[in-house]
């Protein structure tokens, strides 16, 4: 079976400022990894390990310097921008400050890749938007302006926009970064439900190792643009690897309820 996403020997380097020799030659170096259909796949790693660059490569904001990325067997480089956005929806951490549109207007923007030449939204677009708003439980907020919502509500609205794109793959950038505990739990529940009910593939990038261990089928641990480990949370999250990658002392245990690995810092005395 063709994997949902196939990253083949991908390399990428940002142009260095001022034309001098780059301090870090590659943001991503010779990375190969696959994501299967219906899988929840986590990408973890320290700052500047290439997580965000990987999102940008997957959504074709950036183009690999070498290697290629295939989505359902088709090379990303051969697809039109709108076609990429019909397959892959990215949920950003937040919308720009002062974003003036309402919830419904934002979610309707998710319909753009399905009709890039049309000027106005169709009834079909509005139906998809309503459905997506319902799926993430924010239908009541549809006439509110984005900047009047709480962080948890905005997160759900952006998830609704991504669902309105009707993608095969959902890519989430730090989905729980700005959320309190209850909203983190709700967000994880929602992602699991979407994954179970519609078989949606999910790639999530996160600093939260415990959340990633709990929700993900497999993890990719990145360090300075290279894959240090790929596999189930149990395989990837070991004390030795994490201490080497993050450069601090870490204790890995087992969650008493789910049996998944837990990661705890050992604070310096």
């Amino acid at each position: 079976m063709t994997p949902l996403v196939e990253v083949r020997e991908v390399e990428f380097a940002y142009p260095s400022a001022g034309g001098t020799v780059a301090r870090r030659p590659f943001a991503i170096g010779a990375l190969s990894v696959t994501v299967e259909d219906g899988e929840i796949f986590g990408v973890i790693g320290p700052n500047a390990s290439g997580k965000t660059t990987l999102i940008r490569l997957l959504s074709r904001v950036l183009v690999p310097a070498r290697g290629e990325i295939l989505i359902a067997g088709r090379p990303l480089g051969t697809l039109a921008r709108a076609a990429v956005a019909r397959d892959i929806a990215v949920v950003p951490q937040d919308v720009p400050r002062g974003f003036p549109y309402t919830v419904e207007e934002l979610v309707l923007m998710g319909r753009y890749p399905h009709s890039p030449r049309r000027l106005f939204d169709s009834d079909d677009d509005r139906e998809h938007a309503r459905e997506a708003l319902g799926a993430t439980g924010v239908l009541d907020l549809r006439t509110e302006r984005l900047d009047r919502l709480s962080g948890g509500e905005r997160q759900r609205v952006m998830l609704a926009r991504a669902l309105a794109q009707r993608p095969r793959l959902l890519v989430l950038d730090e989905p729980t970064a700005h959320l309190d505990l209850r909203h983190q739990v709700e967000c994880v529940g929602l992602l699991r439900r979407l994954n179970r009910e519609s078989g949606l593939g999910i790639v999530l990038v996160s600093h939260d190792l415990n959340m990633a261990a709990e929700i993900c089928d497999r993890l990719l641990l990145l360090d300075r643009g290279a894959a240090v480990g790929v596999g189930t949370p149990k395989v990837v999250l070991t004390e030795a690897t994490l201490e080497a990658v993050y450069g601090c002392r870490i204790a890995v245990g087992t969650h008493s309820a789910t049996g998944r690995p837990t990661v705890q810092l050992i604070w310096p005395p």
Partner: protein, 336 residues
Amino acid sequence: MTRLLAALAALALATAALAVGALFVGSAPLSGRAVVAVLTGRGTATPVDEVVVLSLRLPRIAAALLAGGALAVAGVGFQGLTRNPLAEPSVLGVSSGAAFGVVLAQVFGLRAGPLEALGLTAFAFAGAFVAGSAVYLIAAGAGGLPVHTLVLAGVIVGIFFSSAITVLISIVDFDRLGGVVHWLLGNLAPLPPPALGVFGLVTALGFWLVLGQSRRLNLLALGDEGALQLGVDAERVKRRAFAGAALLTAAAVAFAGPIGFVGLIVPHALRMTLGPDNRTLVPSAFLGGGLFLLAADTLARTLIVPAELPVGVITAFCGAPFFVYLLRSRSARIAP
């Protein structure tokens, strides 16, 4: 959609009413009955009455509607593509660039025939294009495009082109430049039919370019990366919207002079009532801009009868306080 249609209907009605009303006022002592006689073709219209109504007042009203509409839509375009609520043809210095192009064309002897009107517009467009690109390069070189950097770059480019115009006027025989000083203050004059035709065509082209990008300009508010992830080619959208807005500015400046602030006042007033959707704003701004400039011009024609004020003075008196208000208000900000 319904909101758009309602807004367009209301604006069209108000514009039509004001346009008819404007036919009845002016410096020439003409009775209301005489105007009606000219318009209906019945009664006792003298040839002088006919000239005043059909060749002076009517073309001037048409010029006001076109110039106001063009400048307001250009404002919507510039605000959308720069994500900057203060962007506007005159604030960005694009009007000054266009004006320099027009003065240069007049130095070469272009006047108001149909071909010459096209040449005038081409020079204005070249000036607008150079000024707009200069503003972009200066602001981008100063680290991204934050709100204030862009405005400062616009002011600097505006001053540069204004000085260049002064140089041209100083070294060229003043008589050849005719009413250039009056025109530079922003002045609507009755245009001959060929010039009016060119004005209308160029405005239609610019309007179509900006309207065609209006949905994508909405998505651009998500930032370049956010827009790209939804399948919008951000750079292409900006280029097309810029071409459209520069074309509209060029047409307005070539045929009505560098009238300021219409592109600031009208889009913001409409945004407050209709919301930020550019698909609604672009057509509404065209009608609203025409309405606003016609009202300003009617005031300019009647405030100090029998003399006239340049309409640019009126729009600047409205626009300057409005600019300060926008600078201070945080809620009107489109993006950080």
